[in-house]
Amino acid sequence: MASELIRIRAMVWKDLTAERRTKANFNAVAFLAGAILLLFGFALGPDAAALEAAAGGMIWLTVLFSGVLSFNRSYEKELEGGALEALLLYPGDRRSIYLGKLIANFAFVLLVEAILLPAAAVLYDLPLHTMVLPLAGVLLLGTFGFVTLGTFYAAMASRLRAREVLLPLLLFPMLIPLLVACVEATQAIIDQDAMGFAGSWMKLLVVFDVVFFVAAYFAFDYVIEA
C-alpha cells in the first residue's frame, strides 16, 4: 500500500510539474474556454435574462470541451519518447497510474474552472459572490465525475491514431446523465434555488461519481493492457 502511494504521488507530481514548467496545456485550454464562453455569449445576444437562463449549460459545456483537450494531452506526453511503455513495465498495480493521472487532471480542470467562473460571471452578469459555496460543491462533484471518465477513456484512446476524434465520441455519450445533473444543479443555484432542487441533483452527482470511479478503477488495467 505504501509503495502504491509513492507511485500515485510520483505520477501527480510528474504531471503537474511538467505542466507548471511548460504551461502548454494550460494556455491552450484556458484560451479555448475563454473563446467558447465568448462565442456562446455572442450567440445568445445581449438579452441578460436569456444569458442567465442558459449560464449553467454554457459553463458546463465549456468545461467539457476544454477538459477533453487536456485529457488527450495528458496521455500524449506519455506517448512521446516511449514513456508509456516504461510506465507499463514498472512493477506494482497499474491502477496507481490511473489514480495519479486522475488527481493531476482533477487539479488541472479545477484550476481552469477557477479562471472560467469569474469570466462567466462577468460575461453573463451572474452574482457569483452570493452562490460561491453551493456552486463550488456542484463544480467539485461534477468535475470529479467528468475527470474520472475522461481520464479512463483517454487511456483507452491514447494508442489510437484518431484519438482526438475518438475521445469525444466515446466520452460524451457516457457523460450525458452527469452533464444533465451538473447543468440542472448549477442552474438551480443561479436561480436562487427556492425549491431546493440543487441538493437532489448533487445527491445524484455523488451516485454518478461513485459508479464511474469504481467502474473505471477496476477496468483500467484491461484498458491500458490492450
Binding site: 509513492i6 514513456a83 514498472y90
Partner: protein
C-alpha cells in the same frame, strides 16, 4: 556469407518441419488466416531465467515470429541477432510482457508471461529504442520518478551516484529536452543501475553510445548475470558484445537458430565460413 545464409535457412526449415500441424509455418497452416488459438496452460521452470515455448506473434496478416523456443539459464548473457524486421524487438517485448504472444507461451523465472505478467515485471529491466524520458523534467527528476514508480523511495545520494556512473552528474539539473540520443540512453542505463533487474533486456544497446557507454552496458550485462540473473541483448553489433556474450541466437524466418559468436561475426563481416576441422586435417 551465402553459405551461412543457406545453412541458416536449412536449419530453419528443419525446425519448421518439426512443428506440429496447424502451427504457423508448419506447412499445414495458412499463415494469413490462421485463427489464434487460446493460450494453453503450460509447465513453467523456475530455474530458467527465460523459458519460451513455440512463441509466435502476428501483426495484422504478417507472422513476425513463427515458433520461437528459447531457454536461458541464470548467469547467461545471450546475444540475439537477425535482419531488420526479423522480430528481435518483438521477442524482447514479449519477454518483457509488453506484448502478448499470438501463440505459444513462456515464463520468466517460473512466472507465466501471459497469465502471471504482473509477477514477471519486477524481474525485468528493459532498455528499448526510446529511453522513455520526460523532456520537461531534469535528469535527476527523471531518475527519481522512475525509482518512485518502482515503489521505492531511495535517497538522493543513490541517484547522484548512478548519474555519476553514467557520467551525467554535470547535467543533473538540466531538462532532458536538450539531451542527445546517447545521453538519453545513459539515463536509461542509470535507471537500471539504481534498480538492478534479474532479467535484463537490451534492444540495440550499443547504438548511440561512445566507447565508455558501450563498456557501461557490458559491465551492467555482466553484473546482472554474475548476480544470478540473465541478459538478452538484441544487437546487430556483435563485436561490441565480445567478452560479455556467452552465446548467440539468430532469428531466421521467425525462428531461432543457435550460432557461435565466431559464426555470427563471420556472417556479419561477409566472410566465408571456416572449413570444418576434418577438412583442415
Amino acid at each position: 556469407m551465402l553459405a551461412y545464409l543457406e545453412d541458416d535457412l536449412e536449419r530453419a526449415r528443419r525446425s519448421r518441419a518439426a512443428l506440429p500441424a496447424g502451427m504457423p509455418g508448419s506447412g499445414t497452416a495458412a499463415l494469413a488466416h490462421s485463427p489464434s488459438s487460446r493460450q494453453q496452460p503450460r509447465m513453467s521452470n523456475a530455474s530458467l531465467a527465460i523459458d519460451l515455448d513455440g512463441v509466435a506473434r502476428r501483426f495484422a496478416r504478417r507472422w513476425v515470429l513463427r515458433g520461437v523456443t528459447l531457454r536461458v539459464q541464470p548467469g547467461e548473457v545471450v546475444g540475439l541477432t537477425g535482419n531488420n524486421g526479423s522480430g528481435k524487438t518483438t521477442l524482447l517485448r514479449i519477454v518483457s510482457t509488453l506484448l502478448r504472444p499470438t501463440r505459444g507461451g513462456g515464463s520468466v523465472f517460473g512466472h507465466d508471461l501471459v497469465n502471471d505478467a504482473a509477477a514477471v515485471r519486477p524481474y525485468i529491466g528493459y532498455l528499448g529504442h526510446a529511453a522513455g524520458l520526460y523532456d520537461d523534467l531534469t535528469a535527476f527528476e527523471n531518475l527519481r520518478f522512475s525509482v518512485r514508480m518502482a515503489g521505492l523511495d531511495v535517497g538522493a545520494g543513490v541517484l547522484d551516484e548512478a548519474l555519476e556512473r553514467v557520467r551525467l552528474d554535470e547535467f543533473r539539473n538540466e531538462r532532458t529536452r536538450g539531451f542527445s540520443a546517447g545521453m538519453r540512453r545513459r539515463l536509461g542505463v542509470a535507471r537500471l543501475l539504481v534498480r538492478p533487474p534479474r532479467l535484463l533486456l537490451l534492444d540495440e544497446p550499443y547504438a548511440s553510445f561512445d566507447v565508455d557507454g558501450i563498456t557501461l552496458v557490458n559491465e551492467l550485462a555482466s553484473s546482472v548475470a554474475e548476480a544470478g540473473g540473465a541478459t538478452l541483448i538484441a544487437t546487430h553489433d556483435v563485436a561490441r558484445g565480445r567478452g560479455v556474450l556467452t552465446r548467440m541466437v539468430r532469428i531466421v524466418e521467425g525462428r531461432l537458430v543457435q550460432r557461435t559468436l565466431d559464426e555470427e561475426e563471420a556472417y556479419l563481416a561477409g566472410r566465408p565460413p571456416a572449413p570444418p576441422l576434418e577438412a583442415e586435417a
